[in-house]
Symmetry: C2
Subunit: 138 residues, 2 copies
DNA sequence: TCTTGAAGCTCTAGTGACTAGAGCAATTAC
DNA sequence: GTAATTGCTCTAGTCACTAGAGCTTCAAGA
């Protein structure tokens, strides 16, 4: 049996976060010691590692809930799991595209400032006047 | 003079968000009509457009506060403004790098599933077993 | 002038995914 | 036995909004 601290060290999930996941129903409430401390089995360790891994990949808690539900039914078709992963991939790609637009604009703004004072600072001027932007962002 | 709705239409900032910015002290409390409704001047319109633009570029509200303070002192050196923009650029680049790692991993996971059921679904297996990952992420 | 409907007002609470802190109790190592 | 560490519950804070209730004001047409 593992204490909550053991679980935290083995999965990389912080102790308060584990308790938060329990509150949210992502992990089941575990057994308790005589002194009311949480005691986890290996199965619960694995589930938490699964959650950690999915969070690292950017899945929302609700998606993780679905994936956990699915993994409890290994005989069902996996179209739903594939769909969740694919949508996550699409969402990550959209975020990358948006951030790249920002990067381009910021790069232009941050490197074009040859001014000495705020009065002729390109950063401030560019923010004040959208017309100075190279293209649409946001 | 503009109503809060005029301001919203002209800047693209939603009405509740304008009120929220006022509460946060990002925009000053404007004059009021006899019936207690907000009435904005052109100057306030421009400030809100500045804020909108900076938010679109991903600046945090605290950074925007600094940039606004700076823009009120055009005679001061603009090193601080440049620094804020540069740090924002660095932070955007870090986010892009992290998301690209996720993209690679998700692509591998989402496209490798040739299974029919959850039991042999690569998405579920990859999440359960970090050892299946191509490299470190998260 | 009256009426109607849109727009405005304040206030509270909710979002997501945690994080921080207070004030205790239990466990573990020496 | 004792001291340090770890654990417990509970509340509140983070960020940047967003939603909703219940009310008032405004602008345009009849």
């Amino acid at each position: 049996m593992f204490s909550i601290g053991d679980l935290s060290r083995r999965t990389g999930v912080k102790v308060p976060t584990i308790r938060y996941y329990e509150q949210m129903g992502l992990v089941a409430a575990p057994e308790r010691s005589e002194g009311n401390q949480r005691r986890y089995s290996r199965q619960e360790l694995e589930r938490l590692a699964f959650i950690r891994h999915a969070r690292d990949l950017g899945f929302a808690v609700e998606d993780i809930r679905s994936l956990i539900d699915l993994s409890g039914h290994p005989e069902q078709p996996c179209g739903h799991a594939d769909k969740i992963a694919e949508e996550q991939l699409i969402s990550v790609r959209e975020k990358i595209a948006q951030l790249k637009r920002l990067e381009a604009e910021l790069e232009r703004i941050a490197t074009c400032c040859n001014g000495q004072t705020v009065g002729d600072c390109y950063v401030i001027r560019a923010l004040s006047d959208h017309a100075l932007c190279a293209d649409e962002h946001g």
